[in-house]
Amino acid sequence: MRFIFTLLLSAILYSNTFSPQYLIWVAPFVAFLSDLEVGLMVFASFLTWFYFRNWDSVISLEPMDVSILILRNIVLIVVLLISVYKLLKKK
């Protein structure tokens, strides 16, 4: 299940589209990850909700709200790296 999570998250992060609901694609597979990864994914969900709440500011490129969006993406990249590391370690 970790491999599937990693595959889906890589596809989402590599794509040039990333609608907020794409997080739902990987959510069922989060149930098989470590607490640290789950915690980071929950944090990413909260950040998603937060920047989407201020959507008008995001599309106006207000630095504060754009920073939250960028932080969300960085958190997801970190989760991906942790997951890849754990996959390789398992091998």
Binding site: L8, A11, Q21, F32, S45, L61, L69
Partner: protein, 210 residues
Amino acid sequence: MISEVWGELALYQGYAEKSGVPYQDFNLEYPPLALELFKLANILGEEWFTLMWYGMVLIAVLVTCLFIKKMKGKPFHFLAVVLPLGGLFWDRFDIFPAMFSLGAFYFAVAGSYWALPFLLTGVLLKIYPIILLPFVIGSLLVRGKITEVVFGLLVFVCGFALVYKNHPNWMNCVFGFHGDRGIQIESVRAIPKLINGGEVIYSHNTFEIK
């Protein structure tokens, strides 16, 4: 008002009420089964659409939790990720392909005939589960389930052929729409442009950055 359809649900309800042949008389950016999902939620009419939709999403959540539990995962972790999304979770249909994707693996691990039909349902709802196809087949093969793979692939091909026969234009429509999209403001690829201050434009029902 729970009876009022708005936002993304208004879009879905609008599709459900459209007359004519999808991909021919009107454009639809989703695969054909998604339209059936919208029609199912609209079965009692517009004023019940929202309630029906939330009921369907709730059922999908419960089934997903059941799959997770059966696979010895932690359903609470799944809920902890999706619930903070609020309306982004409840007002979208992504939980359905996600449920079918997980279900495909549940049945693959159990060596069941249902694995590939489940994945096909997910693909006909939202395309992306297609990337899981080799891994569902692989999961069945490592368990020596050759018959299940052959049966599943037969269902997969026949299912696709049937849908293609009814909607010959659906792939052109869906891939034409999604293949033509630029860099969405929320994607990782947009980060450098967000930092350097790009130009935001509205395109393909979303915001892109140039």
